[in-house]
Symmetry: C2
Subunit: 256 residues, 2 copies
Amino acid sequence: MGRKAHQPGRSRVCPHVPAKLAAFIDRLGLRSPLSQEERAALAALDPPVSERRARWDLVRPGERVDYACLVIAGIVGRAEQFADGRRQTTAVHVPGDMADLHSVPVPRAAWAITALTDCTICEVPHGQLRELATRYPAIGAAFWRDTVADASVYSKWISVLSRHDARGRMAHLLCELGLRMEAAGLGRADDFELRLTQDQLSEVLGVTPVHVYRTFRALRDAGVIATERRSIRVLERPALERIAEFDPAYLLLGRD
Amino acid sequence: MGRKAHQPGRSRVCPHVPAKLAAFIDRLGLRSPLSQEERAALAALDPPVSERRARWDLVRPGERVDYACLVIAGIVGRAEQFADGRRQTTAVHVPGDMADLHSVPVPRAAWAITALTDCTICEVPHGQLRELATRYPAIGAAFWRDTVADASVYSKWISVLSRHDARGRMAHLLCELGLRMEAAGLGRADDFELRLTQDQLSEVLGVTPVHVYRTFRALRDAGVIATERRSIRVLERPALERIAEFDPAYLLLGRD
DNA sequence: CGCCTTCTTGAGGGTTCTCAAAGTGGGTGG
DNA sequence: CCACCCACTTTGAGAACCCTCAAGAAGGCG
């Protein structure tokens, strides 16, 4: 599964197995009911796939784009840039996520979309997405619903940043990404690996890199996580959830 | 204007002056092109209007709603509630905002919608909004675009909370609300009044009420704002914008 | 091998929190 | 009309959390 996920759709011209968008369609279907016809219409899209190295900007701030970035493999972040060059990552995307579905209704990017690890990206033209959303109202509704799910995550992170200290923030991030990776079919929520540098995590959590390290050490000493170079492994998810006061409802990983 | 705004549509049965939704339609039109027919279809809605006192929960967390709350007068907040009862306000809405357009695709509320001041609210049935979004794709696109604008504000606030201290957060909030009030036709960005308690501000800014006071004092001593009981007035908007590193692009108050 | 990124460690200082208490004004009921 | 209550604002002292600055160690990559 892991190896396959890293090379999806690559030169598989067979139209009966449209692997490119499969993960995205599954994600949409998790939240919104889609008929076979609607799924087929989405699967018929055949956008270009490209590989990007870590640190590559898929979209630069201020740029005007006419495609949306679908993450096929790897981790991608959305970041706001400050005058002094520092960045704040406001969203993290895992495989199956359309990293900037937002850009369909608003093509002028106010943020950067950056590859946090080496990754495989699919650039889906806005025109095709808009056309599908208009022709199939259920697809339009599914896109809208996914945008709301994204907003729900933002809203949660506003609470997390306001109310939790670095330890709680880190715990919350790990709980969230665990569930999202599991939903993406990449491991289990209570046993997954996250390959981000402490620098990247500091831009997500809103603390300094030095303090990310100290937070790691505290959680490591408590036996809750294990770290090894740029890889984090969750050991005690229940403890982590308690620290984070984690409630997964906001992820809208269901149809209720 | 002020007095009129507090009694919109009340027993004005004249169908040629559909005051209820006028501000909302103008807001949508600010961001998305809408034809006369589409505007008329929106204006034809005639949902019930009600007055609510400050502190009233328009929507309680976990509740399932079948209408969206349009703010006609007053200020409304979206808040997440914690186990210990504390709240974090993640969005502030001014007149003309549909406070929870999010609830149309996701009817189960993960948050509370609370009246921060006495206010006038219009409860627009989801069914009617969905119907319009399906029948008129441009209206659907406008709703989607407004949802993205909301998400853009969330994203900005994640940066603000991560990178700015209490003074910068306060400055940013005042800069943003100034522009939004102006866009809503309620004063000028560089001379407006905000009637919120320090307690409410603390829930927005993610600091303690005590520290809101100290932040006020610092800005007051610097001659940037004036405070009088629960009313704040901006005196030096340019200084405020410098403190906040404010760039209004994220509000999407235009069609680019 | 050397460079570069990333991780680790320490000391001191600043912002914000917690806890505590007094002052102020508006609203309510007697 | 007054007394009271309640919500809100103001003030202070000490502690916690996180930052800044600085520098050394450890692992990849050409």
